[in-house]
Symmetry: D2
Subunit: 302 residues, 4 copies
């Protein structure tokens, strides 16, 4: 039988940056201190392809995923990102013609949280992990890793709050009194989705639960599945006492990273995006930034 993949391509001299699988779903079992988490992960995996080779041996990618991911059902791994690192290394082993391999993974993740201890229930988040391996001229492999999460919270608009305050003071002049200065006024509020990803240096490590806590702390308020009447009021009040633009969410998030993640080196990359699904518009507003942790540390000091 002809090895069609190993044949020369019709079009010469074109190395391709990436050939692989996408949208492949797999269950991954992660062992945590207190419990096992079963993640349903979507993977994209690929390697580059030299110019003298017609095709990439794609069934090897599916085999690698079966060997590293499927087996976690009986032998759990530490984390989604450690699985990604194993996968990307193995991609270079099984594709000897490749110089680069990359994995992107995202998975839904459940954590028990609550507005109070007796209201705890599972809230859903998204985990993100990426790994990239490069084969050097001497065969040595260099590994790049990224880890992050996305969480949904809420934002309350600080600008509309001041506009409404001015309007309501006109209608209720007593509200101009200084004692009402701290009275939170009506404004538009909405769902906010914020994503934070760290591009880690060798040896760098983050706990995804900390990433999620950090994101939730940057919104006007986290949101919860179970809110009895009083809790609902508490969440609304909290959000209106911390009104935030997406710009504020993003800056507060970034500014909190040096204190939250002291263990990460200055060369750690940070990518962050926040999207508010505006209640007063049919479209979203969003803010995004990319910076190194070192720049962030310096910038905040000055």
């Amino acid at each position: 039988m002809k090895d069609v993949h190993a044949m020369a391509p019709a079009q010469g001299n074109l190395r391709l940056r990436s050939v692989g699988l996408s949208g492949i779903r797999k269950p991954l079992v992660v062992q945590r201190a207190e419990r096992q988490n079963v993640l349903a992960v979507t993977f994209r995996v690929g390697v580059d392809l030299p110019s003298d080779r017609k095709g990439s041996d794609l069934s090897r990618n599916a085999e690698i995923l079966a060997e590293i991911v499927d087996t976690t059902v009986t032998r759990p791994v530490d984390s989604l990102e450690s699985a990604c690192s194993s996968i990307v290394r193995e991609l270079l082993v099984r594709h000897p013609y490749a110089r680069e391999a990359a994995v992107e993974a995202s998975a839904e993740y459940f954590l028990q949280k609550g507005v109070s201890e007796e209201r705890r229930s599972f809230e859903d988040y998204t985990l993100i992990a990426e790994a990239r391996a490069t084969r050097g001229p001497g065969g040595e492999v260099e590994l790049g890793r990224a880890v992050g999460a996305e969480a949904v919270g809420m934002t309350a608009c600080p600008c509309a709050m001041e506009t409404c305050r001015a309007e309501l003071v006109r209608e209720f002049p007593e509200l101009a009194a200084s004692k009402f200065e701290s009275l939170p006024m009506i404004t538009h509020n909405q769902r906010n989705r914020t994503r934070l990803v760290f591009e880690l240096e060798d040896g760098g490590d983050v706990e995804v639960d900390d990433v999620i806590d950090t994101i939730e702390a940057s919104a006007s308020s986290p949101t919860y599945a179970i809110l009895k009447r009083g809790d609902e009021g508490a969440v609304v009040l909290r959000a209106h006492r911390r009104p935030k633009f997406v710009e504020d969410v993003l800056r507060d998030l970034l500014a909190s990273l040096p204190a939250r993640f002291p263990q990460l080196s200055d060369r750690t990359g940070v990518r962050a995006t926040t999207v508010s699904e505006e209640s007063i518009h049919k479209y979203n507003v969003e803010a995004s930034h990319r910076v190194s942790l070192g720049e962030l540390r310096q910038g905040l000091e000055t």
Copy 2:
């Protein structure tokens, strides 16, 4: 060449309710009084299949769409629903073995609206049209039609508003004064999507712009693309002066129909669903109802 579709199926005696195309996209040009609207429509079309026939002649469905929809680029039609009625009739003509034919269509639709005259810009909505044709024993064709729309607005929660009022009165006792009774208090607000579809009787007709206006009037407030600072305050105030549960949106919508659509007969069917993308939760709340216009008229009278 064998006519494979006309062969007997391997599995005998099974008439199938529906065989057809879905997810087919087409541009449809509608001539309105003031301008032409070009809709990008997603169609699902199908007919039933008798038990003695292996397959449905599906290429005829694509031909019918080309003949009735593609040609509107040079010869616009009156409405999406009139195109659906033509399609469903033609389906029965070209599938002589069929007793029933059905079409479902949805399309994005733009209307110029604004919080004020000088802030008008295009807002996006969804149009819905359905048609169903049944061939009677004597060959006569009976036609059923449905027409509707979906619009995005906003809701402000009346319950959290009262909880927050009670909480803020504890903190600011002056607010207990009766003059502050009408002061709108903070609450959670969010995007709301509401869909209203009429199942029309013979001769019944509705103008989709009226359906959209009716839906928008049922929310706490419509939403707009362009809102300068003062406008934003006005929309927020309006929404907080008309706080609504999804239950209120749905009831107000339904209750407004008799006055809004006096031309429709009692036997007109009404389907309505409203979904609020809760800002304080990661999930949605929704309410839905199905009723005849006659029941609605009677119910509101009693």
Copy 3:
């Protein structure tokens, strides 16, 4: 604090069919003979609302889900459908004003399958469960349940195969020889998604793995994550030796049910839909049917 939900609505006399939550995600642990499955489930839950009540107590729905679903992490349940039955019963308990309650659930589900024993890996499917409870005049509760699944396979078109055979026989007249009659010829093939749901009678029960096997057997061939070169050929050959229209997939599926599910009563309802994502078109073709198992049994006998 006012109980806003219990207040009378502004619009009188409108009982609403359904008010509830949608898009709420929860992990559910199911105990199977050989292993635990952790499902990430999307729930829609709701109850009707009497005309004299402004709002439904929605936080109770989130509490019920936390109590019945979240707790499966430590106390697994038998199945997604048993969880749905518990939820729908509890909805009627906690919403004493409601006469009807409904739950819809869907979840991704992984099963180890392979083209051969040594190629087994996780394949992904969708589970579907629904439950509906009605409170009778004497307070007795009647329960309706539906269970099903969706699986992706492939179809190869029998019509294009004959067209291509005729064309190739013109080009290669030797192929007209009777010995080549069984030579599978080229045709278009594509992904097919088929969904089968049983509306169960009291006491009726199906195993979802059987539902998935039944669906996979109705396609031209199941599909697999790991296919080495020879396996790929085997799958392609199998599909081309069983060419099927969506009509054939649906009829073969329905016709297989009496033998596959002898334990189900005649009054069991069957809903089935199959969609082929045509490789030669940008749109899909689909076929659907709704029938009782009794009608199916009778029809196949005649």
Copy 4:
């Protein structure tokens, strides 16, 4: 009224790369030689935000879109990309504090095509346009533009074809004869989505219809809405006579660009991705590349 946006942010020293709107939908009318096309466009627009400013004046973005896009209903523009260039320039004018502005736009696009002249009907494609403006130290504005498209076609796998040939030759030894060498054999085939985007240099220009033709020529075959029996055979035959991996689609596409687009400069960037929705797997395979047109020209010469 306080200008909240212009206030200093709570967190100092953080310039943000991008703040803006996303998911905003607008109708855009493009005047072509033979007809007007009405596109329903999704825009993302944004500018950077200096460290001393709390918020970006987002309503200006919606106003710019209304002024440049909404008005095309009465005064059509040349192309989606020319609209994007106007928008991005205006973003810098209305956000005097910004140094960079960016626009991303995508729109569905219909073209009449057919397997033959009498089978023409509308096929749907996706248009892509991007623009980026940078304000230099002297106030001069530098503009970057990208234009592209996505088209759906089909691929037939060359590897499974050879595996099946070998298998069928075992079963039908006569097929080993040299006259059958060119007999196309069965294989898996499927939908393929391919995207090609040019990052244009100053003055560079491409016609999107040419981009679409180029993409369609790179697949095993284009696909069509209307295919009568004989046409279906012709498309299947064409695809099986040009079997292609995603790697082949991508290389053939890239290799065709120098001849197809001689007017574009060497420094024009090229981004291309192709995804096959494998009929034998539940996941996709994909290949992607990024290169300059100059590198491509040189590489193909050597």
